[in-house]
């Protein structure tokens, strides 16, 4: 027995040593690569990304490359349009586009001088093929509004829509065009595109190496070689400390570290964190409970929204690297700044008092025997969400609302969020996110992620999708948030509470400039290299 105990202990120690050894070998391999490249010229960069950023199914837009859960520019392929620094739309492959009056037909003209890296020209056929392919296959991004993409002539494509979709240019900005002649089931492993970079090498689980496309039709990339290493934050920090990478992604909890030869750069984001508040009375359907006894009271939801001190939260949890969030789309062209509220603890208490929530002997408010209490779930692998949940708990205690925090994996979180708040992360470069969060779905008559329904909000968003130009649609998206009488903001139904936008932090080697970054969307991965072709070394 005793022997066995020692054997077990030894085994644990050995396992520890083994883990450490594995970690080292990845970093040292990366180091060799860097030393090789750093020696000859300064037009290459080594960038770290979280392991979750590695595209599981390869670099194929149909399986989420670029047009996935976390959108970004696909680098290897080119897109019809691009989003600009202020998140409006500019052309890339497209030279002009227009939409019919009923919003059901988009006609796009494309450049005629673009070639894939295998020398074949990029034609309207490839564009139509790509869109029909993603419509058929994509499970990570929504293409149900598209009926069919048709070729009109060599340089003209027509998109027939099922329903009007005024923000189609935002979708066109993330779908990389693939070559019809070189597309098969292995495309994701050996992608051919017409974009700024060529995939040179992919060591699964470790790194991806890109090289500049010498025949790129636009401005030639300044950075000729981009190496992306996939690792966790602590490994990225260690790699930066060892001087082995040029850009290391990091988190607020490491922001007090200083690394010699590196500066900490923070990039603004719309990568927000917030939690849902189910707005209906609890009701069980197919084993899932929808709605929440306490949170169905709009007074409680409003009190929570103004009773949370977002600045303090950012200071506490993000070490100051973030901005308060009041909506899912702060700083975007479709954001309605009426959503902004001021921290007002007394006002929040008054709201609860007026609604009849009276403080009991244990400091928890109560109404008609119902305690003002709820559970707040968070993803157990995400320390920032955990910390935010804990801070919400502490702050709401002062209001007399009792919060219990609980870790919940994604396997159960979606179902449980129908009745209990969950700490979410959102933020995308398309107003469609407003629709996904607040619009009701046909089958259930309630919004997808958390029970909520408001006909007026629905109507504005439907109109926004039918709008014939983007500027008009921005206005309607804003009205969906707040039109002066109803909406999803403080004075409206407030079915979600938005807490903060998490700045994306990077340790960047001195002398490297990462250009002007677009506001980063959710996902701490590929966004940083959206403009890698414009980075420069001093």
């Amino acid at each position: 027995m005793k022997n066995k105990l020692f054997r077990t202990l030894t085994a644990f120690c050995m396992a520890g040593v083994l883990f450490a050894a594995c970690g080292n070998s990845i970093v040292s391999r990366a180091a060799e690569d860097t030393e090789n490249s750093a020696a000859d010229q300064k037009d290459s960069v080594v960038v770290t990304m979280p392991t979750t950023s590695e595209p599981e199914s390869g670099f194929d837009p149909a399986y989420g490359w670029g047009a996935g859960e976390h959108v970004h520019e696909p680098l290897i392929q080119s897109t019809l349009t691009v989003t600009t620094a202020d998140l409006k739309i500019a052309n890339d492959l497209a030279t002009e586009y227009s939409v019919s009056e009923d919003g059901l037909t988009w006609t796009v003209k494309i450049r005629d001088d673009v070639k894939f890296t295998d020398g074949e020209p990029l034609t309207a056929e490839d564009v139509a093929f790509t869109y029909n392919d993603v419509k058929e296959k994509s499970t990570v991004n929504d293409f149900t509004m598209l009926k069919e993409a048709k070729v009109i002539d060599e340089t003209t494509v027509e998109f027939d829509m099922e329903t009007p979709f005024s923000i189609w240019p935002y979708t066109m900005a993330i779908v990389g065009i693939v070559p019809e002649h070189a597309y098969d089931e292995n495309y994701g492993q050996n992608p051919v595109g017409s974009g700024r970079y060529i995939l040179k090498q992919w060591d699964k689980g470790q790194q991806v190496i890109f090289e500049a496309n010498p025949d790129y039709y636009g401005e030639a990339p300044k950075i000729k070689k981009v190496t992306v290493l996939f690792m966790e934050e602590e490994a990225a920090l260690a790699a930066a400390q060892a001087g082995q990478v040029d850009v290391a992604h990091t988190a607020a909890s490491y922001s007090d570290m200083s690394v010699d030869g590196y500066r900490l750069e923070s990039v603004a984001s719309v990568d927000n964190r917030g939690f849902n508040l189910p707005t209906t009375a609890p009701e069980e359907k197919d084993g899932i409970v929808y709605g929440n006894e306490v949170l169905q009271d709009v007074a409680v939801r409003r009190a929570i929204n103004i009773g949370l001190d977002r600045e303090e939260m950012i200071e506490n949890v993000l070490n100051g690297y973030g901005t308060p969030a009041y909506s899912v789309c702060d700083k975007m062209p479709w954001y309605n700044n009426e959503a902004e509220t001021a921290y007002d603890l007394e006002g929040a208490k008054k709201l609860l008092d007026d609604a009849g929530w009276v403080e009991g002997s244990d400091g928890v408010r109560e109404r008609d025997g119902v305690k003002a209490a709820f559970k707040l779930m968070f993803n157990p692998e995400d320390s920032v969400r955990q910390a935010l949940a804990e801070d919400v708990k502490n702050q709401l205690k002062e209001l007399g609302i009792q919060v219990t925090t609980e870790g919940a994996g994604w396997d159960v979180a979606y179902d449980n969020a129908q009745s209990q708040p969950l700490m979410w992360g959102w933020g995308a470069h398309t107003p469609m996110e407003l629709y996904n969060i607040y619009h009701t779905i046909k089958d259930t008559g309630t919004a997808q992620y958390s029970p909520y329904a408001n006909e007026t909000v629905d109507k504005y968003m439907d109109e926004a999708l039918r709008a014939d130009d983007l500027d008009k649609s921005y206005e309607l998206w804003q009205k969906a948030q707040w039109d002066g009488t109803t909406g999803v903001t403080q004075e409206g139904d407030i079915p979600w509470i938005w807490l903060c936008n998490v700045d994306h932090l990077y340790f960047i080697r001195d002398g490297l400039s990462i250009g002007e970054q677009k506001i980063h969307p959710h996902g701490h991965g590929w966004s940083i290299v959206n403009n890698v072709d414009q980075w420069s070394w001093e």
Binding site: L5, T8, L9, N394
Partner: protein, 271 residues
């Protein structure tokens, strides 16, 4: 002071310490989860003997609570496991060749699969969490004790007083309960206590790997896996103290088990 007195002192000290940790932990459920952002990342000091983590949680309270959870899970799992071992061990030795063959085969089967692997499978299949861990540990740890008891019973069966009981016409069950069980108690108790450290280590390791208790629970495995992320930033106290306490707990259980064996084993009881 003779050997026996020393052993009694060791045993009592170990038991008192472990009981104190286990019971102490029961009373600090709230405190172990309470966060205070004004007290983030503090070095060990007077007000926080083990320091605080990045949420401002007191690591001392968390460690005690974590160990307490581990001890209670260990207690539950080891007890279930030991009783399973006792019953199967006796059944194997007394119910004839067929039963013996089946049970021995099961023992070999369970022993043939690495503990940790089987434990992971069971825990995941039962949806992780408390039940997953307890059932997992219980189902994987009974084998060696079952073997010991089977061997002991086989030996007992040949002894005079059992043979006499048989000749007197007592039933098999009667003999097993009346005459064999009392003889087995010392081995059983020692075996039970020596199961604890394994149960605790295995509980914390599968929790560490993310297949055990969920992350808002201050289990020792959670504490250690969380602290791994911050070791690189020089926050050594997050892992050191909880780790040391875990080792200490395991060793103390071992000391308690060994002392108990010395005390009740006829071979050493009178030293």
């Amino acid at each position: 002071m003779n050997q026996r007195k020393k052993t009694i002192i060791y045993f009592t000290a170990a038991v008192i310490f472990l009981a104190a940790v286990a019971i102490g932990g029961l009373f600090c459920k709230e405190a172990a989860q309470a966060t205070d952002f004004s007290q983030k990342n503090l070095l060990p000091g007077l007000s926080h003997p083990f320091g605080t983590d990045w949420l401002g949680r007191d690591m001392f309270v968390r460690t005690i609570r974590g160990l307490s959870l581990s001890i209670l899970i260990g207690l539950a799992a080891a007890t279930v496991s030991a009783f399973a071992a006792l019953i199967l061990g006796i059944a194997s030795a007394t119910l004839g060749k067929g039963v013996d063959a089946v049970i021995t085969w099961i023992i070999d089967l369970v022993m043939g699969i690495p503990h940790i692997l089987l434990l992971l499978l069971i825990s995941v299949a039962l949806g992780k969490g408390l039940t997953g861990v307890v059932v997992g540990v219980a189902l994987t740890h009974w084998t060696s004790l079952a073997r010991v008891i089977r061997g002991e019973v086989m030996q007992l069966r040949e002894s005079q007083y059992i043979k006499i009981a048989e000749k007197l016409g007592h039933g098999k069950l009667h003999i097993a309960v009346k005459h064999m069980l009392p003889h087995l108690v010392p081995q059983f108790l020692v075996g039970l206590i020596l199961l604890f450290p394994h149960a605790i280590l295995h509980e914390s390791s599968i929790t560490f790997l993310g297949f055990g208790l969920s992350s808002e629970q201050p289990a020792i495995g959670i504490i250690l896996s969380e602290s791994m992320k911050y070791l690189v930033t020089g926050k050594w106290w997050l892992a050191l103290f909880p780790g040391l306490m875990l080792v200490l707990t395991v060793i103390l259980f071992d000391v308690a088990g060994e002392s108990l064996r010395k005390l009740i084993d006829p071979g050493s009881a009178h030293k």
